[in-house]
Symmetry: C2
Subunit: 352 residues, 2 copies
Amino acid sequence: MIEDKNQQRTSLGNLGEFGLIEHLTHDITTSNVGTLKGIGDDAAVLDFKDKKVVVSTDLLVEGVHFDLAYMPLKHLGYKAVVVNVSDIYAMNAVPTQITVSIAVSNRFPVEALDELYDGIKLAAKIYGVDIVGGDTTSSQKGMILSITAIGEADADAIAYRNGAGSTDLLVVTGDVGAAYMGLQVLERERQVFQVNPQNQPDLDAYSYLIERQLKPEARRDIKEILKALDVKPTAMIDVSDGLSSEIIHIAKQSGVGCNLYEEKIPVDPQLINVCEEFNLDITTVAINGGEDYELLFTIKMEDFEKIKGNPNFTIIGHMTQESEGIHLITRANTKIPLKSRGWNALQNESEE
Amino acid sequence: MIEDKNQQRTSLGNLGEFGLIEHLTHDITTSNVGTLKGIGDDAAVLDFKDKKVVVSTDLLVEGVHFDLAYMPLKHLGYKAVVVNVSDIYAMNAVPTQITVSIAVSNRFPVEALDELYDGIKLAAKIYGVDIVGGDTTSSQKGMILSITAIGEADADAIAYRNGAGSTDLLVVTGDVGAAYMGLQVLERERQVFQVNPQNQPDLDAYSYLIERQLKPEARRDIKEILKALDVKPTAMIDVSDGLSSEIIHIAKQSGVGCNLYEEKIPVDPQLINVCEEFNLDITTVAINGGEDYELLFTIKMEDFEKIKGNPNFTIIGHMTQESEGIHLITRANTKIPLKSRGWNALQNESEE
């Protein structure tokens, strides 16, 4: 047999649109009873009976939201799903279906899309969502991913951003800031690699941070834990843009103020070590970092005893009257107004 | 007052992400009773009670699906919505909500996005859908639009692609091929303009074709018309990739064959004239053109009398046993196998 050196690179053009969709989706099955029709028609058909339907969508652009230099395609596919189902969990709802649209330039062979889809399919399996539709097309430059997540909830369980009361406690799951520092470590390693490609980096000391960046998980467990504790969040949001930014969303939309206590903010020991190494302030990283995909929520004060000491939760502050503003209370007991750093890629982008 | 010559160009960076979203969406209200929560939370919340939920999504990429040289932004926004709600109508369902995600490079000022959103909001109003969410971000190059449409239907009304029987009649609404020829006219005018910018084109003879390309409409009327006639389509699809391609989808998914009669294919008189002018075969354009957003469906033979003579519908053929294949029967009564031209942008794109 003649060996084909390019056998691992199948050009997208060889398959054509319909061939590519068939190639990528032929092994996708559905498992939710509410998924009446998935891929293969003009639209998916879903049945929610008497549940409310929850819908969220995200657009991820290469060079803006991800860098394929350190984000393996399988991880990217996985993360794209996680980011979306996280928004559904942030409504105190359960994701049930996703649609996946992808635009890619011809520089990607079919095998690259297979890698990406492997990650998407793995995440769909782990989070129990059916892939029910999408669109596959070409781009002029780079890769663009658009995922829409659909979920369900009982009407009285849904937690909006605007329900926080002025005496509510502010709670966050897990720890924050690690995903951001993971990105800093990866960026540094890339620069080292560019100078010396022979260098074999030892990343053990950063494993947690890198995993939080490359393979984040959404908090699918929280809804059930809160239900078992008989706690209903009065407001909830997921930590994607950064703790600070999310607190401001809840406070402003609820018409209340907030005091966030620096000493209470949960961070991983690795974060502390690496912040020292990078000469960065831990709290600045923890409140502005983003991409943690933890859940931030408020609860009524009388629920304090139910949450207290639970390893899944940290009470990091309390809401106040709106007139008191939104502040970080430092370890030195000074009050600093919280700022929304948000996402500033539009500002950083240079003119074409 | 000092006149600001740049007052019509507000840079995206000036607003930032949250400012831009607020700017674009502050006047969006919802009108469907099933829209419990629209823009402004992690996800939208929708109530479909005992209806089935129908979901479809499309990704539109500048330079692949649209060319801003002849597509005004307002029209682009309008068309992007139409393309999506058309998929919902193609399920014999009613669209109720959309999400809108946009990625743009910095070359677009805020006013350009306003134009785009004006078209999106106009279409949303005309088609009665609520804009309930989305994402606004930056791209490295050009504009990318991702729209997801959500609709509702009674379970027994939904028309899938795979329900056609082997003796069913094949029906199309309106006429086909015009949108494709509209694009050819616009492309020619652009080339003329590049040679002689002073040239004032007279496009009256092409008005219908150009409108079909720049401002297509989805067939929101068909569901009610069919219901009034007591006709339930056995299979249905919208004509986006071209009549030929859509017939093959229905036939293959239904496990049947098809005879399409050339003499029956409905075309507009303008199409006939312009095909002569461009020296193109009318039937080739009509069956491969695409972007017509008409509905193609099959009905049981016994419904023939209900449809016959109705100006909304043309019976263009009939289904057959699968073994007979899928053919065009020409005016000269020869049988030609139908081919799926589909969408070949991936093949046409050059390597980066």
